[in-house]
């Protein structure tokens, strides 16, 4: 009976994983297909990957995507961490109000955020381009960082901060040496989350980019209309793997760090 139960539950789990990853597996397989057909396997090739690296528009889009993801995640992490600390020190009523205000953009439909950001940039006569995508990404990343840092801020003991002051540290030294390390797990997961959110984003980028600048997602979208080239499968595979690896690091890094600490 127990055996049957565990066999069934394994079966169920495999099905879920299959349905979730089958489309991605198809994409990965097709990216190595030498023919252009989506239905027929014509032989293994890595040509599409080579073609992808050689394609200057794809590479420019990739550079933009990574730079924007990194910069927006970094700025959002710095601002979000400081904001979380400040919010935590507020009186309960204002704390609740501010937390609700920061939570709303996360629930807001991307298309609404995208259009309203675009209108806002135009209203303030900011020409659309790389910088507007960056600003937009920082904006939508902020709440995610605050949300992931907040629990750590709440846990952090006030006493360790005071102990650092007591031992002669200035408030800034105490923050760097004692408070920040305590918040670090929340800060890194906030950064990882922001980074992947930015990599993933299409809709907001679509509305806030100017002419002549593309990220991977907007490039794929514009190519879809012309008929998809298998280089796009190769590119999508690379994006998937990047996000996958970043998420894995985000999830397992704290455990690795703990293990290393234990062995030391």
């Amino acid at each position: 009976m127990e055996k049957l139960k565990s066999a069934l539950s394994n079966c169920y789990l495999s099905l879920i994983v299959l349905f979730m990853y089958a489309p991605i597996a198809t994409l990965v397989v097709l990216s190595f297909n030498s023919g252009r057909s989506r239905a027929q396997w014509s032989g293994f090739t890595t040509d599409w990957y080579v073609a992808m690296w050689a394609d200057e528009t794809i590479m420019a889009a990739l550079r933009n995507t990574v730079i924007i993801a990194f910069l927006s995640a970094f700025v959002a992490t710095v601002l979000g961490t400081l904001a979380a600390i400040a919010i935590n020190n507020m009186k309960p009523v204002s704390k609740n109000i501010i937390m609700s205000i920061t939570n709303v953009p996360m629930l807001n439909a991307d298309i609404v955020t995208g259009i309203s950001l675009m209108l806002c940039f135009i209203a303030f006569r900011i020409s659309l381009g790389f910088h507007t995508i960056l600003m937009a990404h920082i904006t939508f990343n902020l709440p995610y960082v605050i949300l992931s840092v907040m629990p750590k801020v709440r846990q952090a003991s006030k006493e360790t901060y005071e102990a650092a002051l007591d031992l002669g540290a200035t408030p800034f030294q105490a923050f760097l040496t004692v408070v920040l390390p305590e918040l670090m797990p929340g800060v890194t997961s906030g950064f990882m989350l922001a980074f992947t959110m930015s990599l993933d984003d299409f809709i907001i980028t679509h509305f806030t980019r100017g002419a002549g600048i593309d990220t991977i997602s907007t490039l794929v979208y514009s190519q879809v209309r012309k008929g998809i080239s298998p280089t796009m499968y190769a590119l999508s595979t690379v994006i998937f793997l990047t996000v996958f690896i970043v998420l894995m690091i985000g999830n397992y890094a704290p455990e690795w760090a703990k293990k290393r600490k234990r062995t030391v």
Binding site: T160, L165, D166, L167, T177, V264
Partner: protein, 360 residues
């Protein structure tokens, strides 16, 4: 007596309109072990935080070695604190925890290494340098917290209920450790606790606080044997506090019985409060001529080293008695108290003072 290291002058502090400290003035001598003793909410921790620089008083001044440090931030003060919950830095090794203050002061590595070794030896944890904080027991963590504070060679060490989280046996051990440390280091300790036994065991000078006021300050013997008011008498140890009449000097009347005492200067026929410690009541035979009070044994609890008993006198008062001799309930006995063991106190004069007294 040695000179003052710390002077608190007219310190007043309130939070959200609630008065925590009211015009508190206190001198602390160099090289003494001073304890702030009182129930929770009496203002003792706030006083410590004001000395440590974590709070600013609304009014009053803090003088350290004669210099006004009221507005000096915590990191500039020549004193260190051992926090109630240890407040060790969890992401650092023991070594790094202890070295923290020294690294801030840019001491050389060799100096720091020596100091760590010395401090760990002092708290009986040699060889623990590389261990992590989570691998330590509560008592060991507290020793590290002490080591981390004393490597900075503070002139004054503040300890905020440092033994509160430890179990009884460990607490007693640590009490002796702290006394030894204080004597070896020759620095001034200010210790905050709500545990009267801890205060009496360790201190040279006890400051009993309640509701933001100093109720009494003095040596442990003075506090225990000559409490100045009913609050102090009740808070420090068990006691029988009874109303009496000071008939004349050296003569007090309690429940109609006349006692000789050693107190004088209260005036004739003045109402007073009288404190008699439970171990000072002697149980003697009912027909013994020395018996001043007569009563019947009512309750008995075995407490280990003593029996805690109650003797009810005809007026209905239940006298608390500690003795190593067992007297069964129901037995008629006589009670005797040596004149020197009777402590006479003024009754609270104003309502304000009354408010500070014991809750009945």
């Amino acid at each position: 007596m040695s000179r003052n290291l710390l002077e608190l002058q007219n310190i007043t502090k309130s939070y959200d309109g609630q008065l925590i400290l009211d015009d508190l003035t206190l001198d602390i001598h160099e090289n003494s072990f001073v304890t702030f003793l009182g129930p929770s909410g009496c203002g003792k921790t706030t006083t410590l935080r004001i000395i440590g620089g974590f709070e600013k008083p609304d009014k009053g001044r803090v003088l350290f070695d004669g210099k006004d440090i009221t507005n000096l931030p915590a990191n500039k003060r020549q004193l260190n604190t051992v926090f109630q919950k240890y407040a060790l830095f969890p992401h650092m090794s023991i070594e790094d925890n202890i070295a923290f203050g020294l690294r801030i002061k840019n001491k050389t590595d060799a100096y720091i290494k020596d100091k760590i070794k010395y401090a760990l030896k002092l708290v009986n944890l040699d060889g623990f340098e590389k261990r992590s904080i989570d691998s330590l027991s509560g008592g060991q963590q507290q020793r590290i917290a002490i080591a981390r504070a004393i490597v900075n060679e503070p002139r004054l060490l503040l300890l905020d209920e440092p033994l509160g989280a430890l179990d009884l046996k460990l607490r007693q051990e640590m009490q002796y450790e702290l006394i030894r440390l204080k004597n070896e280091l020759g620095i001034t300790f200010i210790y905050v606790t709500h545990d009267q036994e801890e205060a009496l065991t360790m201190s040279d000078y006890v400051v009993v606080m309640n509701q933001g006021y100093i109720q009494q300050a003095g040596s442990p013997e003075q506090i225990y044997n000559e409490p100045e008011n009913a609050f102090v008498a009740d808070f420090i140890g068990d006691s029988n506090i009874v109303p009496g009449i000071m008939v004349e000097d050296y003569h007090v009347r309690i429940f109609g019985a006349d006692f000789k005492c050693v107190d004088a200067g209260f005036g004739n026929n003045k109402p007073v409060d009288v404190v008699i410690r439970p171990e000072d009541l002697e149980i003697i035979d009912d027909d013994d001529p020395r018996a001043i009070l007569h009563g019947e044994m009512t309750h008995i609890i075995f407490k280990g080293e003593i029996y805690e008993m109650e003797c009810t006198t005809p007026d209905g008062f239940e006298w608390l008695i500690h003795s190593t001799e067992l007297h069964e309930p129901g037995k008629k006995v006589g009670l005797y108290v040596k004149p020197s063991n009777i402590q006479v106190m003024n009754k609270p004069e104003s309502e304000d003072e009354e408010a500070l007294g014991v809750e009945e």
